[in-house]
Symmetry: C2
Subunit: 199 residues, 2 copies
């Protein structure tokens, strides 16, 4: 059976960097944004659009009652993006050993008993990591400390809601993971070297 490692991660905790290092050390394929690119190819939707749908729980408006009922329906492409995401994650896991970051992969692949890692850190360390990492998607450089802390919290709340919506489990609840690591004082390199020994 393939060795599958899933990594849930708080935004700002260095989970992606850790995942990349671990995959490189183990010589396993690494799946993260690659999944978004692949969905975009398969659905002909833009990557930005796919990312927004694939990483957020659907917004379901209240039905409006004005004499007759309007039902809130999730757009078809929302469903198909989620379906494609599931397919790609399953395909990756069936193809070879791999490291998959985010996207509730721990839950999607639960029958294959992946090694489930969750990476978190304290707010101070998240802010520091965001300031240092200029290559990420979010424009943090001009934000105040307070604004950045709020932004980080928002992103993590969205991740938590997404995970809860699609899995029915609590994001980051240690009962659902094999290893939870606080990266406030551990570098991704050191962590990858250690976790490698658990495989």
């Amino acid at each position: 059976m393939n060795k599958i490692i899933t990594i849930g991660r708080e935004f700002g905790s260095g989970g992606r960097e850790f995942g990349r290092k671990l995959a490189a050390l183990l010589n396993f394929p690494y799946y993260d944004r690659e999944i978004i690119t692949e969905i975009s190819k398969r659905t002909s939707l833009s990557e930005k659009y796919v990312q927004n749908i694939a990483e957020n729980k659907p917004i379901i408006p209240f039905p409006i009652h004005t004499g007759r009922t309007f039902f809130a329906v999730m757009p078809d492409y929302g469903q198909s993006v989620q379906a494609e995401q599931h397919n790609i994650i399953r395909e990756a896991a069936s193809k070879s050993d791999c490291v998959i970051v985010g996207r509730g992969a721990d839950y999607i692949l639960r029958e294959l008993h992946p090694f489930r890692i969750f990476v978190y850190s304290d707010t101070e360390s998240k802010i520091k990591r965001c300031r240092e990492n200029q290559s990420n998607d979010y424009e943090h450089s001009e934000m105040s400390e307070k604004e950045l802390a709020k932004r980080i919290e928002q992103i993590n709340r969205a991740r938590s809601e997404y995970y809860g919506f699609y899995t029915g489990q609590k994001w980051g609840d240690k009962a659902n993971y094999d290893l939870c690591v606080n990266t406030s004082f551990i570098t991704p390199d050191k962590l990858a070297e250690a976790v490698r020994l658990l495989m």
Copy 2:
């Protein structure tokens, strides 16, 4: 500064075994029941009695109001056992690198920034470990599966209450640890080898 590793652990999760292996690999002194023995020596109380006081939160009866008030007072030896426990833990940490299991050492030594590990596992794995480990204090061998599960839960509830009472923190809440490991599918040996690399 000395390297201090503290290990909180659910009963039945193999935390003690892991702690011993880790201490041996690192060549660090290991403190667990040794602390009880030392308190017993210093206070001239029996080890069994010391253990009971040192590992459980005090039972504070409600004050009884019958015209005049009786105050609930924690017995002096309860306080002195706790005080000795603190002293011994602080002494150990100031003497050399070390591994300390249980006793809220992560909180007692918080100003020294220990590496804080929490070890947990699922109920099934705890039961299996208890059945295999005949050398522990509790008489499990004649218990049914259900009785044993209940007993394990009771012990862990007592640990949780003890930790909460003396630290004001939630036992096993990952925010208070650097590493939380689910030992349901990881052996203490393998874990010790990996954690060694984080030191």
